[in-house]
Amino acid sequence: MIGEALALFGAVLVLLSAIGVLRLGDVLARLHALAKASTLGVLLLLAGAAVNLRDLNDLTSVVLAGILHLLASPPASNMISRAVYLVEGVPDSALDERREPEPDHTV
């Protein structure tokens, strides 16, 4: 019962991130919606499955998949956002802390 509730909550999080990916304005915002919500969503789905599984062999597979996903997914999102920033930059309205300041010629 509690495992199914966890899986349902995780599925709702994945659906929310899908709505964000569909509706947000630019690539970095869509990446933000996907990377945060769906990491937690997948972990909740795997936790819901792990609560219901009885065999130790299956349990270790689910736990290993969760750990590997938690280790591998955020760096991949970071690589995509870094590539988008280097190629396209950010929109002018967004805060860009990495941009070089304008040279000061008044002095």
């Binding site: 599925a11 709702v12 994945v14």
Partner: protein
């Protein structure tokens, strides 16, 4: 409750597929594919817990490694293309 979970995951997969078809740039499509991978992982885990058949769970381990590695490779491609 398992049926509700699978229906919600199917709706999320539909939204990700729309973004995959529409998405203007390559990075948009990569984001949508990443979401589809996540939906697949969740569906495999939910189905395994519902039927208590763990045959597909090693696939989950493989997907959880191969998906982010593929995303990183496409990121390097986007960087080097321009």
């Amino acid at each position: 409750m398992t049926q509700a979970t699978l229906f919600i995951l199917a709706a999320a997969a539909l939204l990700f597929a729309v973004r995959l078809a529409v998405g203007p740039s390559l990075a948009d499509r990569v984001v949508a594919l990443n979401g589809l991978i996540i939906v697949g992982m969740g569906a495999i885990a939910t189905q395994a817990a519902h039927t208590s058949v763990g045959s597909f769970l090693p696939t989950l381990v493989a997907i959880s490694l191969v998906g982010p590695i593929g995303t990183g490779m496409i990121a390097r491609y986007i960087e080097g293309r321009s």
